[in-house]
Structure formats: structure tokens, C-alpha cells
Subunit: 301 residues, 2 copies
């Protein structure tokens, strides 16, 4: 099965991937978009965030020996969608948050209307990056990546999850309802990252693809459980965003529903499930994916 | 050259195309998206608007003998982008408009946050519709359509134009500056509609493609000039939106810059330029495109 990747190897790999992704994002998010729009877009995207989604894309693409150019584009595209969702989520009519990644949020820095437009333009840019002219990425892969990203971002994915989240403030949810919300709100894009990475190969064994999808689903949910835990255990400085805001907003969370200990156990169990999916995938190079699952559960911000 | 299409033929053709587009939009904009999101999306899209962009897609696709399934998807996708842009444009932080197509705007009806999310989800849906699984649309056409739509919608297209518009309120613009703004804000998506229609064929003669692009550019600008004219000459009931709002907002318009008569002459001249481009396209079936250019300039709402 998998050739275990040491922590050191993973750190080196991750640093190398992230340098590539940062460079590509800096190249592709236009500085010269009109009337300050490019500035707001770059502010929203560059020099910030854990870049977990790009790493998932790159690791999944590696696991299936996917095409490098396609993977880099998919990694950037998914990060642009993530960045736009944060910009819109922070707006006064949504979470009304003023701090993100340790900096003023986009609407605080540039104004509400420019923030709205920057988010809109980032979403469009994601699909533009996925569809380069020329033969660097085969059209079949371009189309597949667009499909997966649109599904992950839209009404049956992230945007749908945000709508449930919005409607659920102050409402008691059951654990299955909470899970359904998070499966869409955060899970869809994380799972989508893994699917997009896997879509960078010309063809993948169906059983391996199912295993990767299971991995992505478990990891996506684990991420949210840990997010809820950190919302109560970490401080704003470590998070780079306002801590305790979900509790303050009376939003249902895993911690409010299950308590802190059970939430931590759930996160561990989901991490094991993600590892288990990789074990049965039949794929050799899944060490980075394994390390990413560990990183999600052990992160402190 | 072109076999002239009678006004009656055009009306019949247009009615038939629109029935198809309405049905497809109703099928594809999900009623069951979570937490009322689907309801807001359908409210924003269905039963409203002139559907000029879908007609341009269908007519351009016909002119190049494009694939029917691809054209229908492109027509719906471009309308979804248009619909999302209106939803976001009407938000309080943008134009703060309460009336659209004779109905309360989406945020008035559903609230600001749901309107923001509905717009976001509509943009994603546009790209999802362009990338169906299976072989109904060849991957190369799917990829090309996504590229053209993303370019038309993003920072170097519609969103960029909106950013200029936002930054130009109360500022005197020269005619070239005003033209640059409109070329992006409204022109990019109208021109994009023509390009997407032309992209529904497996291959198109480059000279014909250039001619269609010229047609789209002239028509896009004509549309905006007429919009500015109608903003002062029509009333809110005819427009289905608040009349005189650009003047009230001290936004630069063709009428404020050139006066009413010169604006009308400019619109006519652009219509002739659009016709001229069709004349030299070498394409046979351009009667619908010709009629659409006339419709844009002669419309009263």
C-alpha cells in the first residue's frame, strides 16, 4: 500500500506546493482590473489562509498521477471560490465580520459594494483559470473540473449550506441536521477539492475514485467539527478571525450539541475513517492525503 | 447573402426559442435547493426579462449551424449570469433598488443575505449547466463556453464594468471613458452571448467569427445607449424598474453627455454597424441576428 511519508517530507512537499500556488494566484488574479477591483480581489486572495483546499487538490492529483498543469489550475480555482465565499460571508448582511486572517475584512478595507463585486469576480475567475486556451489541459479535464467546482460551490454545495446556516441561527438542530448543513457549507468544497484533484488524471479506477470521495467526505466533516472546537478553545489572535462568534450568534455547533469531549472524539473518528478510505483505495501515493487528514484534526487555527 | 427574415417569422422564431429557454430554466434552476435558496433563485430568473441574451445565443448558434443542446445550455447560462448580476446590483450596498421587472427585487422579497446567496448560486449554476455529464455536448465546446462566459462575467468583463460604474458616480466622464465602462458593464455579456452562440459549432470560419464579434460589440454598445435614452424617456411602469434613477444618482450617461438627439443618432449608427458586420460575415442565416439588432434599438423598455 502506501509508502509512508515522513512529517519532514510532508512539510517540504507542502512548502513547495504552496509556493507554486501562491505564485500562480499572484500571476492569475489580475492587478490591473478596473477601478480598484483587482486590488480588492488580490487583497482577498493573496498572503492568507492555510491553503488547505489547494493542498488537497495537489495531493489527490499526485495520488492518481494527474496532470500537473491541470492540478495547479484546479488548486487555484478552488482557493478562489473559497476566498470569494469568505468575502461575501463577512459582509454586514451575512456574518458582519471585521477581522479575517488577522486583517480587516475586504468590505472594511474597500467598502461593501467593491467587496461584493470582488467576490463575484473571483468566482468567475475560478472558472476562467480552469479553461485555458491551447492544449495545456485537455478539454475533457477542463469540462470535468468546471462541473465539479460548480457543483461544489453552488446551491447543492457551499451556497446551499450557507443558506441552511443562515436559516438555522437560533434554531436547535439535531446532529443529522447539523451534519447535513456542514456537509454542504464547508464539506462540499473540501470534498470537491479531492474530487478535482482526482479529475486531473485522464482516467482513474472507479474503486479508487470512490475511496477518494469517502476520504474527502470524512475530511470535510472533520474540518468543520474541529472548526467548532477551535471556535471555543482558541483565541482570535490564533484564529486570525473573531473567536467565539458562532456561540455569540447562537449558531448551532458540534460543541453546543455534543459537548467538547465528544466533539474531539468525533473529529478523531472521522480522521480514522479518512485514513481507512485511503487504505482501501489501492492507490500507492496517498501519504500526503494521510498527512493532510492529520493536519486538519491536529490544527490549532 | 442573408435570406431576409420577415418580422412575422422573427416573432414566431423568437416565441419558440423563448418557450424552450423558459422551460429549460425552469427545469434547471432547482426548486429544491435548501432553506428557501431555490425559491429565491427561481424568483430571480423565471417569468421575467426580455431574454435578449438567450435570443442572441440562439440566433448566433443558428448562424453558424451550432449544436442545439449546446446553444440551449449557453442561452440559459448567460441568462443566469445576467439574472445574478441584477440581484446583486439591486442590493442596498449597490443601487439599492426595490423594483425590477415590475416586481419587488429579490432582497426586498427574501432579505439581503438570501439575495446575496441566490446570486452567488446562480453564477455557479451557469457553469454547471454548461458542463453536463455524458456526450450531449462535446467537452471542447463545454470548455470553450465556460471560458467565454467566465471572461464575459468577470473582472475584465461585467464585474469590471460594474466596478468602473461604482467609481464613476458623480464624476464627469468623457465619451471614450463612458464607452469603456459600458463595453464592460453591459457590452461584455451581450458580446459574450454572440460569441457563445458561435462557439456552439465544432468549427467556424475565422472571418465569420470576427464579423460576429464586431456585430456583438456594436449591439452591446447600442443596447446601453438605448438604455440611457429610455431612462429619461420611458416611465417606471414601461421599464419595469425605477426610471430616471441614473440621472437621480448623478451617474454619467450617454444622454447626459451627448444629449437626447445625438444619443438617438448614435444608437442608429451602431445598429447600422451591426448590420454591416453581418453583411460581410459570409454567413447565410443571419436574419435573426439582424432582427435582434433592430429590436435592441427600437425597444421601448
Amino acid at each position: 500500500m502506501d509508502a509512508r511519508v515522513s512529517t519532514l517530507d510532508f512539510a517540504q512537499w507542502s512548502t513547495r506546493q504552496l509556493a507554486q500556488v501562491e505564485q500562480a494566484l499572484s500571476d492569475w488574479v489580475p492587478a490591473d482590473a478596473p477601478a480598484g477591483l483587482g486590488e480588492a480581489m488580490r487583497y482577498a486572495v493573496l498572503d492568507g489562509g492555510k491553503r488547505l483546499r489547494p493542498l488537497l487538490v495537489m495531493a489527490a492529483a499526485e495520488a492518481v498521477q494527474g496532470r500537473v498543469e491541470a492540478a495547479l489550475r484546479a488548486a487555484c480555482a478552488v482557493e478562489l471560490i473559497h476566498a470569494y465565499s469568505l468575502v461575501h460571508d463577512d459582509l454586514p448582511c451575512m456574518d458582519n465580520d471585521v477581522l479575517r486572517r488577522g486583517k480587516p475584512t475586504v468590505h472594511v478595507q474597500f467598502g461593501e459594494a467593491p467587496a461584493l463585486l470582488a467576490g463575484d469576480a473571483l468566482q468567475a475567475l475560478a472558472f476562467e483559470i480552469l479553461t485555458p486556451e491551447g492544449d495545456a489541459v485537455p478539454p475533457a479535464i477542463q469540462a470535468r473540473l468546471c462541473r465539479l467546482l460548480a457543483q461544489a460551490a453552488g446551491a447543492s454545495g457551499m451556497a446551499g449550506g450557507q443558506a441552511i446556516d443562515l436559516a438555522s441561527v437560533g434554531k436547535p438542530l439535531t446532529e443529522p441536521e447539523l451534519r447535513a448543513m456542514h456537509r454542504l457549507k464547508t464539506g462540499a468544497l473540501l470534498e470537491g477539492s479531492v474530487r478535482m484533484g482526482a479529475a486531473c488524471a485522464d482516467a482513474v479506477d472507479p474503486a479508487a475514485l470512490r475511496a477518494l470521495n469517502d476520504y474527502g467526505a470524512a475530511l470535510g466533516l472533520a474540518f468543520q467539527v474541529v472548526d467548532d472546537i477551535l471556535d471555543v478553545t482558541a483565541d482570535s489572535a490564533a484564529l486570525g478571525k473573531t473567536a467565539g462568534k458562532d456561540a455569540a450568534a447562537d449558531k448551532p455547533t458540534y460543541v453546543s450539541l455534543l459537548g467538547l469531549d465528544a466533539s474531539q472524539m468525533l473529529a478523531e473518528a472521522l480522521c480514522m475513517r479518512a485514513h481507512g478510505a485511503l487504505d482501501v483505495s489501492g492507490l500507492a501515493d496517498v501519504g500526503r492525503l494521510r498527512a493532510l487528514a492529520d493536519m486538519v484534526v491536529k490544527r490549532t487555527h
